[in-house]
C-alpha cells in the first residue's frame, strides 16, 4: 500500500475518533434558578430549580447535586447541599448556623452551584433579596388586612406598590377571598380585602386558614403569612363506611336490595322445594 493511502486511512480514523469524542463530550445546558421563601416570618428556605432544553422543550432534571451559599461562594458561607428531585427541585432551610452571615446585611444574596457532571457543565445561579415580612390580620365586617414591611438597615419600614395575594387555603391551592386576584399595598404597606366567601366549607368548627402572599417578587422573593378565622361553614365528616350502599362491604348491602334478592331466592327455591316434595308425593302414590 502506498504511503498516501496510509495517510488517508490515518486521517479518516482520526476524524472518526474526533467525531466520537465530540459526541461523547456534547453536553446539554443546565438551566439553574434560585428562589427565596419566607413562610409566616419563621421559616426561611431556598429552592433551586434545575431544567434543560431537549428538542426545543424544557425538561426537569433530577439528580443534580447542588450547593447553596449565602453572600459568597466560600466554604465558610455554605448553607447546605441538596440533590434535585423528580420535579427538578432542591430545597434547603437556611440553618441557624448561618445567623451571623444572615444578620450582617438587610439585603442578603444567595448562590446555588452545580458541579460539573458527565451530562452537564458546572453552573451557578444567584438571587438577591431585601429582607421583608408580611403580616395578615382581620378587622370588623370580615375585612382582611395584609401588611408588608421591609428591613431598611435595622428598621422595619412599610412597602408601597407591591402586589399581594389574599386568599383562603384549600386542599388543591389558594382560593381568592373575592373576585379580585391581587391587592396593592399603600403607603402604610397595607392591602385590604373583603371576605366574600360566606358559604365556604371549613373544618368541624368552621375554621378557615387565610393567607397573604407575595409571590415571585424580584426584590422580596416569596413571602407568606397565615391566620385561622372561624368564617367558614362547620362541616362534619360523615363516614360512609358503615352505610348500606351498593359499594359497601359484605353485610352492608341496601335493605331494598336484600329484600328483593332474598324474596326472589325464597320464592323460587320455595317452588323448587315444593316440586321436590311433589316427587315424594308421587313416590307415595306409587307404593
Amino acid at each position: 500500500m502506498k504511503t498516501h493511502n496510509y495517510i488517508t486511512i490515518a486521517l479518516l480514523l482520526f476524524s472518526c475518533i474526533s467525531i466520537a469524542s465530540y459526541a461523547q463530550d456534547a453536553k446539554n445546558d443546565l438551566l439553574l434558578s434560585l428562589s427565596y421563601f419566607n413562610n409566616n416570618n419563621q421559616t426561611q428556605y431556598l429552592t433551586a430549580h434545575t431544567k434543560t432544553k431537549i428538542d426545543g422543550k424544557f425538561q426537569l432534571v433530577a439528580g443534580i447535586p447542588l450547593s447553596f451559599y449565602i453572600g459568597s461562594e466560600s466554604p465558610a458561607n455554605l448553607l447546605g447541599k441538596a440533590v434535585s428531585n423528580d420535579k427538578g427541585e432542591a430545597t434547603i432551610l437556611i440553618p441557624a448556623a448561618a445567623k451571623e452571615e444572615w444578620n450582617k446585611t438587610s439585603k442578603p444574596s444567595f448562590i446555588v452551584v452545580s458541579a460539573a457532571s458527565k451530562l452537564y457543565d458546572g453552573t451557578k445561579a444567584n438571587t438577591d433579596i431585601v429582607k421583608a415580612k408580611i403580616k395578615i390580620d382581620t378587622a370588623a365586617d370580615k375585612k382582611i388586612v395584609a401588611t408588608l414591611m421591609e428591613l431598611k438597615d435595622t428598621v422595619w419600614a412599610p412597602v408601597k406598590g407591591v402586589d399581594v395575594k389574599i386568599a383562603v387555603e384549600r386542599f388543591d391551592g389558594d382560593l381568592n377571598v373575592s373576585e379580585t386576584q391581587t391587592y396593592t399595598t399603600d403607603s402604610t404597606g397595607m392591602a385590604s380585602a373583603d371576605f366574600k366567601r360566606d358559604t365556604l366549607a371549613g373544618d368541624s368548627k368552621g375554621n378557615l386558614i387565610l393567607v397573604a402572599k407575595v409571590e415571585d417578587n424580584d426584590i422580596y422573593g416569596n413571602l407568606s403569612s397565615e391566620k385561622t378565622v372561624p368564617w367558614g361553614v362547620a362541616t362534619n365528616f360523615i363516614s360512609q363506611y358503615d352505610r348500606r350502599t351498593l359499594f359497601a362491604r359484605r353485610g352492608h348491602s341496601p335493605i331494598w336490595l336484600e329484600m328483593l334478592a332474598y324474596s326472589i331466592i325464597v320464592g323460587v327455591w320455595g317452588v323448587l322445594i315444593y316440586l321436590i316434595l311433589q316427587i315424594k308425593k308421587l313416590k307415595s302414590l306409587g307404593v
Binding site: L246, F247, A248, R249, R250, S253, P254, L257, E258, A261, I265, V268, W269, V271, L272, Y274, L275, I276, Q278, I279, K281, L282, K283, L285, G286, V287
Partner: protein, 435 residues
C-alpha cells in the same frame, strides 16, 4: 308418523348401545377431556401464569367459554318452556335434547368459572366473603337455581319413560335397569300421578323463563356494570339473551341432525322439525343482528375516543378477522342458508346450526377480551405480551376439554335415557288418532 305402532315407537326410542362410531366418538371426547385435565393440573401446580392472561386481559377464553355455555343453556327454556306454554306440539321430540344441552352446558359453565379462578378453593371464598351487591354473587345464585330447574325439568317428563324402560330389562341391561328402578319404579301412570307431574312441569316451565332471563341478564351485567368501552351499554341484557337464544337454537339444530342420523330417528325428527327450527333460527339471527347493529352503530356514530379505539380494533384492527368471521358465521350465513326452504332441509340446516354455534363461540370471545385490551388509561411501561392476548396451549386444552365434557354429558345421557320422550310421543299419536 301417524301409522307407527306403540311397539315400534318404544323399539325405536329405547336407549341404544354405542356402535363402533359411538365408541370412537366417546374415545375422542375422553381424550380431549384428559388433555384438558392434564392442562388443568399444570395450571394448578404452576398457577395462572401458564395462561396468557396478564394485567390487562385478565379474562380470556375461560370467561368466553363460560358466557358461551350460559348462552347455549338458555335453549332449555326456549324449547321446553316457551314452546310448551304456547301449545306448540311439534317441539315434543326436541324438548329432551334441549334440556340435556341446558344441563350439560350449565354444568360445564360452573366448572370453567372455577378453572378461571385459579385456585379452586377461591370458589369457597366466594360464599364466605361474597357481597350481595356484586353481580358475581347473583350469577352464582341464578346458575345454581337454573341448574336445579333444568334438572327437574329433565326428570319429571322422564318418569313415564322409566315405567316403559323397566319393562325392557333384557334390552336395556341389568345396570341400567337398576338405575331406572331407583329413579322411577314408583311411577304407575295413575291419573293422580299424571296430574301431579303435568302440574309440576307447568310450574317449572313458568319458573324457568324468568330464571333463564335472569341468568343471562346477570351474566351480561358482569360486563355492563363495569364502565369500559364495549361494555358500557344499557342494552346488554337483551343483547345477551337474543344471542343466547340464537346459539341455543343453533345447537339444537346440530343435535337434532346428529341424533337423527346416529339413532335413525327420521320418523320422529322429521324434515318438518328442521323446517320449523330453521325458521326460528332465522328469526333469532335477525333479532341478534338487530342488537348487534345497536351495540356497534350507536357508539360508532358518536366515536368517543376510547370507544373509537375499541371499535377500530374490532372493525379494521387486530380483532377484525375474528370479528367478521363471527358476524358472518353466526348471523349472515345462517340467515342466507335458512331463509330458503331448501336451506331448511336436514343437512343444510345442520351446517347452518354448526356455523351459528362456532360463530357464537368466537362472538363471546370478542365480547370479553378486546374491551380489556382497551383500557381508559394508556398502557405504559408494560411488557409487550401484556398488550395482546392469545391463549396458551393450556387454555386451549382446558377450554376444548370443557366443550368435550359438555358433549360427553349429552352423549352419555343419550346412551342411558331416551333422547326423545317415549310416552309423550305415544300419547300425542294416540290423541292425534282419536281426534
Amino acid at each position: 308418523m301417524e301409522n307407527i305402532t306403540k311397539h315400534k315407537i318404544i323399539e325405536d326410542l329405547l336407549p341404544q348401545k354405542f356402535g363402533k362410531k359411538g365408541k370412537i366418538w366417546v374415545g375422542i371426547l375422553l381424550a380431549f377431556c384428559t388433555l384438558g385435565f392434564i392442562a388443568y393440573c399444570r395450571q394448578l401446580s404452576k398457577g395462572l401464569v401458564v395462561t396468557s392472561m396478564r394485567d390487562y386481559a385478565s379474562w380470556g377464553i375461560y370467561i368466553s367459554n363460560f358466557v358461551f355455555f350460559v348462552a347455549i343453556s338458555l335453549v332449555g327454556s326456549l324449547i321446553t318452556a316457551v314452546l310448551r306454554l304456547t301449545n306448540v306440539h311439534w317441539s315434543t321430540p326436541l324438548t329432551r335434547i334441549a334440556e340435556i344441552i341446558a344441563v350439560a352446558a350449565i354444568t360445564c359453565a360452573s366448572i370453567i368459572i372455577i378453572v378461571d379462578m385459579g385456585r379452586p378453593d377461591r370458589f369457597y371464598n366466594l360464599f364466605i366473603h361474597g357481597r350481595l351487591q356484586s353481580p358475581i354473587i347473583w350469577d352464582v345464585i341464578v346458575i345454581t337455581t337454573y341448574f336445579f330447574i333444568s334438572l327437574l325439568l329433565l326428570y319429571f317428563p322422564l318418569l313415564p319413560d322409566f315405567k316403559i324402560m323397566l319393562q325392557f330389562k333384557e334390552k336395556t341391561g341389568k345396570r341400567l335397569y337398576k338405575l331406572y328402578h331407583f329413579l322411577g319404579s314408583f311411577w304407575k301412570n295413575s291419573t293422580e300421578q299424571i296430574k301431579i307431574s303435568e302440574k309440576a312441569i307447568n310450574i317449572l316451565s313458568i319458573t324457568i323463563i324468568p330464571v333463564a332471563f335472569a341468568i343471562h341478564t346477570v351474566t351480561s351485567w358482569l360486563f355492563a356494570t363495569t364502565y369500559r368501552p364495549g361494555w358500557d351499554s344499557t342494552n346488554f341484557g337483551a343483547y345477551f339473551i337474543s344471542g343466547a337464544f340464537l346459539v341455543g337454537a343453533g345447537g339444537v339444530l346440530v343435535a337434532m341432525y346428529i341424533f337423527r342420523k346416529s339413532y335413525k330417528l327420521e320418523e320422529y325428527i322429521t324434515e318438518s322439525h328442521f323446517d320449523r327450527m330453521g325458521k326460528i333460527v332465522v328469526m333469532l339471527a335477525l333479532l341478534y343482528l338487530y342488537f348487534n347493529v345497536n351495540e356497534f352503530l350507536v357508539p360508532a356514530f358518536k366515536m368517543k375516543k376510547n370507544e373509537e379505539e375499541h371499535l377500530r380494533g374490532l372493525f379494521t384492527g387486530e380483532f377484525a378477522p375474528v370479528f367478521w368471521f363471527a358476524i358472518t358465521t353466526a348471523m349472515f350465513l345462517p340467515i342466507l342458508i335458512l331463509i330458503f326452504k331448501r336451506g331448511r332441509k336436514p343437512l343444510p340446516a345442520f351446517i347452518a346450526g354448526s356455523l351459528v354455534v362456532i360463530g357464537s363461540w368466537f362472538k363471546r370471545y370478542l365480547i370479553v377480551t378486546p374491551t380489556l385490551l382497551h383500557p381508559f388509561l394508556p398502557m405504559q411501561d408494560v411488557p409487550d405480551a401484556y398488550r395482546h392476548y392469545f391463549p396458551s396451549w393450556e387454555e386451549w386444552a382446558i377450554a376444548m376439554g370443557s366443550l368435550a365434557g359438555a358433549l360427553l354429558i349429552i352423549t352419555l345421557f343419550a346412551r342411558i335415557f331416551p333422547i326423545i320422550p317415549i310416552q309423550e310421543t305415544i300419547t300425542e299419536i294416540e290423541e292425534h288418532e282419536n281426534a
